[in-house]
């Protein structure tokens, strides 16, 4: 019997492994040692703050992040900018508000409660300004791509000169991690495109890491709380299970059957 049960269990494991890992990537993605991976993974605050700077100075010129508000930048588990820093960041954007009592729309400096201001008024405008390719909103970008953070990082680092046999059209670039190896976004990160306020050397790799970490947080703002709670929940459950196991053994000792 136990042999049969074991086989049953193994087949189930097999079912699990094929469904969870179906269709592995053809090109192996770059996989840096992310601080947020693993059971106790956490974000690196300084990296998230630098990542926001990269997003704001580079990505935001095309990509929106419509699901985030400026207040999120100061919340626990995120970049944790101070309250004043958040206010200053928000105030540096012009927000269209209204209508006022005269029925007119007006602009005012942003407040922490405002959503991230998008550079384009709508998807069509964004596509029109970018050669017909809509730069995807970045709020949940990391979760919407197979490979997640590794994939985003790889694409940022995957720009190369195209092999001789590939001819690229105007406005199309070669990127070895993209599907079809073609991308309509020009290489966004070049050494020194950003001057980090904390003095970190802005290499291409550093910026790619920082902005990917920032995007991961943006897609999963409660990741740290989730890891922390999960750790406690599982420890609790294991202790409870052990106690229940011994109670069960005790109760079943009254009958002649093994459990």
């Amino acid at each position: 019997m136990s042999k049969i049960n074991l086989r049953f269990f193994l087949t189930l494991l097999f079912l699990f492994s094929i469904t969870s890992s179906n269709a592995a990537e053809k090109v192996k993605l770059l996989s840096p040692d992310w601080s947020f991976k693993g059971i106790t993974g956490k974000f690196d605050r300084a990296s998230l703050q630098r990542g926001y700077q990269v997003y704001n100075e580079v990505c935001a010129s095309c990509h929106s992040m419509r699901l985030l508000s400026y207040r999120n930048l100061g919340e626990k588990g995120g970049p944790e900018f101070t309250e004043d820093e958040v206010k200053n960041i928000a105030a540096s954007f012009e927000v269209t508000d209204g209508p006022d009592s005269q029925g007119e729309m007006f602009t005012r400096p942003g407040r922490p409660s405002d959503r991230f201001v998008s550079i384009y008024p709508n998807v069509e405008a964004a596509a029109a300004a970018n050669g017909g390719a809509y730069p995807p909103d970045m709020s949940v970008l990391v979760k919407s791509r197979k490979g997640g953070a590794d994939y985003i990082y790889s694409v940022l680092m995957g720009y190369e000169d195209p092999p001789a046999n590939i001819k690229l059209d105007e406005g199309v670039y070669y990127n070895k991690y993209m599907e079809g190896k073609k991308i309509k976004m020009s290489q966004p990160l070049m050494e020194g495109i950003v001057t980090y306020s904390d003095g970190t050397n802005a290499t291409e790799e550093q910026m790619a890491k920082d902005v990917t970490a920032f995007l991961t947080w943006a897609a999963e703002p409660h990741l740290e709380a989730r890891h922390k709670m999960g750790f406690k929940v599982i420890i609790f459950l294991i202790i409870l299970t052990v106690l229940v196991y011994f109670s069960m053994k005790r109760i079943w000792s009254r009958v002649d059957t093994e459990v």
Partner: protein, 421 residues
Amino acid sequence: MSDTPYVPSSKFGKWFNDRLPLLTLSAHLQDYPTPKNLNYWWTFGGILTFCLVTQIVTGLVLAMHYVAHADLAFDSIEHIMRDVNYGWLLRYIHSNGASMFFLAVYIHIFRALFYGSYKSPREVIWIIGMLIYILMMATAFMGYVLPWGQMSFWGATVITNLFSAIPFVGEGITTWLWGGYSVDNPTLTRFFSLHYLFPFIILGLVILHIWALHVPGNNNPIGIDIKKPSKDTVPFHPYITIKDLFALLIFIIIFSGFIFFSPNVMGHPDNYIQANPLITPTHIVPEWYLLPFYAILRSVPDKLGGVILLFASIFILLALPWLDKSKVRSAVFRPIYRIFFWVLIIDVLALGYVGAMPAEGLYLLIARVGTAYYFLHFLVILPFLSRVEKTDPLPLSISEPVFGGMPKPAMMKSDKKNKNE
């Protein structure tokens, strides 16, 4: 454990119980004689009840924050994930809960297949169970549409389009299901409404399922009829409750692993892209638990044929008690059936695998062979096997490992009578 009817000890208890015998019911649930040799595959009934309750409770709270509108649904889910207190927890429990629910139900179903739990006198339990399973699939499918991501939208488009294969009325039915000429806001709102309703129908069926179970009592790993109560049984409480609790806790630990440490592995990344009717994803795949059926659907080059096979593959299970006529229930005593059981498991897993792959080349071939075998198993192998298989001798009871139990129910009854005397 006693045979005497339950009498409440307090005066009020007696007064109340005479008018509504809830206390009798609760006493029955406590004393319910259960075979003492049930293994851990039998703990999944309790686990499934837990899953259903968890889905209903988390779903209830999620529905307080979710907005069923094509323009707002996606953002309202993100609102839950970001701004609702512990909204991320509720949503991840609910979405992973669906997968865990199906994992448990598949183990539960295959346990019934292995130990012959669908056979006389338990046919009605089996049929109600299958109805629950069919409703579960419908509920899960509609739930997957609610976040209004790309896979939600295109999954809904593919599945609802199946009905258009029905001759003459197909197109009309599809339009009626959609509430329009494509999957759109009316589809979303009605799916939400039904997704809210179905779990309560499932709950009702679960009560019937358990009621029907309590008439003949549990089957057991050796599959013989046992006298209840007797040396072969233990009262449900505390023996089975504590064992179910232990198994449930292990299940919850695995469940928690998914919720807290990889909440999105069972979902498709495309569902984090808002639904866009103008962009079709390269591969439209349903959730993992529907993949074997998806493979069957795609294995037929003709749309109507595929749809017929898809529905046949599900509804054939309802007829199982009459397809497998072997009087011996448990596969433990059916050496040949046991082999075919494992072949069926491999077949279903293979179908699930190719269901996730593009329907071309070798994958398509495997899907076709797998589909053919699936029907062969139920329509040919089982009826034939029950006629020719030479089964191993059955023990007389659980406690006494003496062979002499009879595969013929009529003889079993007389055997029981003898023991009673």
